[in-house]
């Protein structure tokens, strides 16, 4: 596709049009159910931003989506599609729980937290290692292997929770609650207006990871190699970049970032390791990365938007019982469709629109 559009159209207008199309179709779905879409949007925005506790929940969801969005984005830069954030985050929860259970009794949270970050990163990266290595050395399609690893992770974690980690005598497949040193301070401890929302200080670590990803991708040699590899594999090989190294290192970073999500959920919100705590947040990362165009700033904005959707959607389900929380999943799917698979749909007409106003060059004689 020829790129003769102004930069602001390419980077700003087209993504905006795509996301608008997704929301318009979502509005049609609401109309089809027989509710008023404008009223639904008002309910959602108020539920997510209109009062302290709601905003706290929005920030809590946003934290998850920043981590999983960054994970998908880093892989995108190297031309890889990591669809396994779900499984990587699930396994990372085990790493976080092991750290919190063993250190939480004796150490304060600010000593446990760095170790838990390492635990989350190591376990998440480890779950991405095998698909990465198979892609790099055996050519197995990474999309398929990471999907398979999501299911394997689910079986493994259910087995561990039910047979190994469960509190004896309890029916719930979950570990014991962590001691205070194994939990993160809530934002509500600092700002009481956040009510009972589970937003916690892991959001600052999420923002830190955004800075890390920005520096990694645009300011380091490794990031340059990753982008080169993503742009053209043959050119990268010609330039002496090792495909095996790039694929494995990129996926380890991606898996580690996905794993960080467990800090917010396991150490922050639940304060114990629960069955299926990832609950699809890993997949939301795909929508967030596509919408944020794989740039940390875009990802923060997209994650905030999805945070608003998740919290607002929960409130909407109370206000309009005909619209259940599953509306969010539909919107998420439509965003992935319009911002991802159909991203070039509006491009031809925009090219026509923007080139018509400029003088047409006379053919050279």
């Amino acid at each position: 596709m020829k790129n003769d559009l102004p930069r602001w159209v390419d980077m700003g207008l087209i993504p905006l049009l795509n996301v608008t199309a997704a929301f318009l179709v979502s509005g049609l779905v609401v109309l089809f159910i027989g509710e008023n879409p404008i009223q639904a949007v008002q309910e959602m925005v108020f539920g997510a931003l209109g009062y302290g506790e709601g905003f706290g929940f929005t920030l809590y969801y946003t934290t998850n989506f920043i981590f999983t969005g960054l994970a998908v984005a880093v892989a995108f830069h190297a031309g890889l599609f990591n669809i396994g954030g779900e499984g990587q985050a699930y396994i990372a929860g085990l790493g976080v729980a092991l750290v919190c259970l063993s250190l939480g009794e004796t150490f304060p949270w600010w000593l446990t937290f760095p170790v838990a970050i390492i635990g989350a990163g190591l376990f998440g990266a480890a779950w991405a290692l095998i698909p990465a290595w198979l892609q790099a050395t055996r050519g197995s399609h990474i999309v398929i292997t990471t999907i398979m690893f999501n299911f394997i992770a689910a079986s493994l974690m259910v087995y561990l929770l039910v047979n190994v980690l469960k509190v004896p005598g309890s029916m719930e497949p979950a570990t014991a609650r962590f001691a205070d040193g194994g939990t993160l301070p809530f934002l509500r401890d600092i700002i009481p207006a956040f009510g009972y929302s589970p937003a916690n200080i892991s959001i600052f670590w999420a923002l830190g990871c955004c800075v890390f990803v920005y520096i990694l991708i645009w300011r380091t040699r490794l990031g340059y190699e990753m982008r080169t590899f993503g742009f053209s594999q043959s050119a990268a090989v010609y330039a002496g970049i090792s495909p095996t190294k790039i694929i494995v290192v990129t996926m380890l970073i991606s898996g580690a970032l996905a794993g960080m999500m467990a800090l917010n959920e396991v150490m922050g919100q639940a304060q114990k390791l629960q069955d299926n705590f990832v609950a699809g947040y890993g997949f939301v990362g795909i929508a967030v990365a596509l919408m944020g165009r794989s740039h940390p700033v875009g990802i923060v904005l997209a994650a905030l938007l999805f945070g608003i959707l998740y919290q607002g959607g929960a409130e909407l389900a109370f206000a309009m019982p005909a619209i259940s929380r599953d509306m969010i999943v539909v919107i998420q799917g439509l965003v992935i469709l319009f911002a991802g698979a159909l991203e070039h749909m509006f491009r031809p007409s925009l090219i026509k629109l923007f080139t018509r106003s400029e003088p047409v060059l006379a053919p050279a004689e």
């Binding site: 398979m148 259940s324 509306m327």
Partner: protein, 324 residues
């Protein structure tokens, strides 16, 4: 051991029942992927079809109407995937992910809005379901040793869709390997430029492949909600679309091996149901989760190339650009 023998016919019976949705979906994927369109949205199409089938069957009280509605919705979703991957040359994986989410959300959302039963559809009457058929002479032959059990207990007594599924295997083989359409479909998945040069439309061929994929996913979904169960429940496909995808890869994109792989994965699902406590000498009791994870582990091992090599169609996942 005696217990094992008594339960064996039951095990094989449930293996067949559990492999049917996998078989429909894997054959669906076979047509799509052989034409060069990767499809990870088998799951979403099945789910959409399962909901549409159960909703239509409940409202119209007819299993056939349900099946048609299921196929219609599944084909519609397949056309969205086709539009994104063929006409718009979008990323086929991204499009597949999108369709899975839209189906997952929309089925429950509409189910709740229409029937107010927490996303379920109403319980179906016998007319709204595909009932079990007793094949001719099954009851008379039941007492014949071995063959009688095989015929009466395992082959007979399924609903019509089970037999349709297994008939689809030779039919798919015939279409793909003995018709002109099949030859062109396979060619377009390997080398679309050559097909284009021969004056055959790549776009129209791929659209037809995607529509066939939609029809078969429609059968898979309808089987789940109006033949195996009697109504739709949230996320009732529960990853079967991905197991079907695994079976397709495991079978190296060939129809008869697809059936074998689906039977194997159906067996792996059936074992924990019939034998909740299996113990192997030296290992002890095998946890049910091992059986659940085994299809995925086997597929990864196969993809890694340690047992044979699974080579996907060469042009799979690559949009066709004519100008090049």
């Amino acid at each position: 051991m005696e217990d094992f023998l008594i339960k064996l016919p039951l095990l094989l019976d449930s293996m067949i029942r559990l492999s049917v949705p996998l078989l429909f979906a894997a054959l669906a994927g076979l047509f799509s992927e052989r034409s060069g369109i990767f499809d990870i949205s088998l799951e979403g199409k099945m789910l959409g079809a399962a909901f549409a089938a159960a909703a239509a069957a409940a409202v119209m009280d007819s299993a056939l109407a349900g099946l048609l509605a299921g196929i219609l919705v599944s084909v519609a979703l397949a056309l969205v995937h086709g539009f994104a991957s063929i006409s718009q040359r979008g990323n086929q994986i991204v499009s597949g992910v999108a369709i899975n989410f839209v189906a997952l959300g929309l089925t429950v959302l509409l189910g709740q809005a229409w029937f107010s039963q927490g996303g379920r559809t109403p319980q179906l009457s016998p007319d709204g379901r595909f009932g079990e058929l007793t094949l001719p002479f099954a009851t008379q032959l039941a007492d014949v040793p071995f063959l009688g059990v095989l015929y009466e207990g395992i082959i007979s007594g399924h609903n019509i869709l089970v037999y349709v599924a297994f008939l689809m295997v030779p039919l798919s083989w015939w279409v793909l390997f003995r018709t002109r359409f099949g030859l062109r479909l396979r060619a377009v998945g390997e080398n679309p430029a050559a097909v284009d040069t021969a004056g055959v439309s790549v776009v129209w061929l791929r659209y037809r492949a995607v529509i066939v994929c939609g029809v078969l996913c429609g059968f898979a979904g309808a089987y789940l909600s109006i033949a195996q169960a009697s109504g739709f429940t949230k996320d009732m496909t529960a990853g079967r679309g991905f197991i079907a995808l695994a079976a397709l890869i495991f079978a190296k994109w060939k129809p008869v091996p697809v059936m074998m792989a689906c039977l194997l994965f159906g067996l792996l699902q059936a074992i924990p149901i019939q034998y909740p406590q299996i113990s192997l000498p030296g290992i002890g009791i095998v946890p049910g989760q091992v059986m659940q994870a085994l299809p995925y582990v086997l597929t990864v091992v196969l993809l890694a190339g340690f047992i044979g090599k699974a080579t996907p169609p060469k042009a799979g996942g690559v949009p066709y650009v004519k100008e090049r």
